[in-house]
């Protein structure tokens, strides 16, 4: 199953090499190896508790791997504190949105650009995000915590974009959204990629994720079960039945 077709021939951007991550005595990710090439959409799928969020949190430096290493653009980043990883160009829209609920929509987007000083460009990026999600424009001065779940999700994605990521990590961006909004989110993800951002995507909605992704990794209870070009996995009925609940 480890064919390399379907992958872009661009340089590897993110290289996760044999990492294990534990919460106390529980090892949630066991010897995982994966990589993301520049300009790709790569998706990480697996059932609940498979270790997807744990992997993403480790890449962003919120957790430290017990063993193995992660490098980004050739530089080892496992062990680097989370706030410094953002500065290197990895931004994440985390599971459960985690927006700053007592701040307004605008303040949340500004927080996304916390490390930047290029005020004119920040303004331009904010306009771009608001164009992507016109709903946020309408609610720009509203306290984020009082918005609907779907609006908060758009804000979480928009906030991550405000960091001008080279690699955008999305953990279940369509969670809790109405079907129309799910479509909108997936369209948006493709649009973001076409504007030159590399994406690592985790989705409950695995089939939809496979449709827009180039390459996919399947996790099962912390282990890498299989990997392959996304189209191939989506078309393999046995895989769809076994892992994708389709």
């Amino acid at each position: 199953m480890t064919t390399d077709t379907g992958r872009l021939s661009t340089p590897v951007m993110l290289d996760v090499n044999n990492i294990s991550v534990a919460y106390g005595a529980i090892t949630a990710v066991k010897g995982l190896t994966l990589n993301v090439r520049e300009g790709e959409i790569v998706t990480l799928i697996g059932s609940n508790g498979a270790g997807k969020s744990t992997t993403l949190r480790t890449i962003s430096g919120l957790l430290k791997p017990k063993s193995g290493e992660i490098s980004f653009k050739g530089e080892i980043i496992s062990g680097t504190p989370g706030h410094e990883i953002v500065a290197k160009g990895i931004c994440q829209s985390p599971e459960g949105r985690r927006i700053f609920s007592r701040m307004t929509v605008e303040e949340n987007l500004e927080m996304g650009a916390f490390l930047r000083n290029d005020h004119a460009e920040i303004k331009a990026d904010m306009d771009r995000v608001l164009e992507l999600f016109p709903r946020l424009q309408e609610r720009i001065h509203q306290k984020a915590g009082t918005m609907s779940g779907g609006e908060q999700q758009m804000l979480a994605v928009g906030r991550a974009l405000m960091g001008q990521p080279k690699l955008l990590i999305l953990d279940e961006p369509s969670m809790g959204l109405a079907p129309v909004l799910v479509d909108l989110i997936f369209e948006t993800i493709e649009k973001i990629r076409s504007q030159g951002t590399t994406i690592l995507l985790v989705e409950q909605n695995a089939l939809a994720a496979l449709r827009i992704a180039d390459y996919a990794y399947v996790l099962e209870s912390g282990n890498l079960k299989l990997e392959g070009p996304a189209k191939e996995l989506a078309n393999d009925q046995a895989i769809v039945n076994a892992y994708l609940g389709g």
């Binding site: 430096g61 953002v86 985690r98 779940g149």
Partner: protein
């Protein structure tokens, strides 16, 4: 089914009526008490109120330290009152003992300002170290662990104070004159003027830092969600240290002002003042900066009026009145005056 529902609704209605009625009666009582005193001696009334606000300003400065720390790591920093005590002891020993600034001369005023800055820096550094040494490792631990550590820290600081000034209260001569001036029958102490002149800019500076600066933005983000803040590139540890520094600096300023207005320091000074300042923070809504200031001023005012007005319960009832009001307030507004009941979506 429906009859019980109606019964419940009726009971709720009766309850709200009772609540409104009791608030109304309490309000009526307080207003008539204040009214009678105001009519009988307007100048005395204002004098007493100003004195109350004078103490209230100190409570507010100390309360800020409680509320800032609570806001950012949800810890009630029991050691904060004792930090204030050390600020007072530091100021007294530096200004009066080392620098011999014990009279009101222009040169001594310069030394006073210098001591203010040093006391703020001293308490800020101390508070940052306390967080670094005692609280940081316990950040992910169950809430009780840092809480009990804070209690222990409070004792440690008290013993430092005990060794520094001894067990008996110690008197110092001050730079600020102990005299007062008289404006249309209203007596205002010079020390009160100094307190207002220093506290107001400090509070404004504080509001500016929290609302308008990058550090303030980081503080607000960390207070709401540490991991999310980290994902924005905020250095969480540094931000928490900065918060402790800010709270410590306010306690240091309050320490100098206390020492200069009262002229006495003792090692256990922090216990009572700390408790009242903490109460102020809770009354205003803990975690809310404006609430801490409002709570401090209000408690100072209540104490001042209660202790000083000719017709009133008097000083012996001072604490009972303050805590009585706190309890009433907590019953009707558990989140405090400016605290908001959380209505956040999961």
């Amino acid at each position: 089914m429906t009859s019980t529902a109606i019964g419940v609704r009726k009971r709720i209605q009766i309850n709200t009526i009772l609540v409104r009625l009791s608030i109304f009666l309490i309000g009526l009582g307080v207003f008539s008490w204040l009214g009678v005193n105001l009519v009988r001696g307007p100048a005395d009334f204002v004098t007493v109120a100003i004195q109350g606000l004078n103490n209230g300003a100190l409570y507010a400065l100390i309360a800020l330290g409680y509320t800032l720390v609570y806001g950012i790591i949800e810890l009630i920093n029991f050691a904060h009152g004792d930090l204030f005590m050390l600020g007072a002891v530091f100021s007294a020993s530096l200004l009066s003992e080392r620098l011999h600034a014990v009279t009101s001369t222009p040169a001594n005023w310069g030394l006073l300002i210098m001591t203010l800055i040093l006391a703020m820096a001293f308490c800020a550094a101390l508070n940052v170290s306390i967080e670094r040494v005692a609280y940081r490792r316990l950040r992910e631990a169950p809430k009780l662990a840092p809480l009990i550590t804070a209690v222990g820290m409070s004792f440690i600081l008290q013993f430092v104070g005990l060794h520094w000034v001894g067990s008996a209260p110690k008197n110092f001569n001050t730079v600020i004159p102990t005299t007062s001036m008289n404006v249309a029958g209203v007596t205002i102490r010079y020390s009160t003027l100094m307190i207002f002149a220093l506290t107001i800019p400090l509070l404004l500076l504080m509001v500016f830092v929290v609302n308008k600066t990058r550090q303030g933005k980081a503080m607000r983000a960390v207070a709401q969600d540490k991991d999310a803040a980290r994902l924005m590139g905020v250095n969480v540890n540094k931000t928490i240290s900065f918060t402790f520094a800010l709270g410590g600096a306010m306690a240091g300023a309050a320490g100098l002002m206390y020492e200069q207005t009262v002229g006495t320091v003792s090692y256990n000074l922090g216990f009572q003042l700390g408790l009242i300042a903490f109460t102020s923070a809770v009354m205003g809504g803990i975690g809310n900066l404006y609430g801490a200031v409002l709570g401090g001023l209000l408690i100072g005012l209540i104490q001042g009026l209660n202790d000083g007005l000719p017709i009133g319960l008097g000083q012996r009832w001072s604490q009972s009145v303050v805590f009585g009001i706190l309890i009433l307030l907590m019953v009707y507004r558990p989140a405090g005056l400016l605290g908001k009941a959380t209505t956040e979506k999961v």
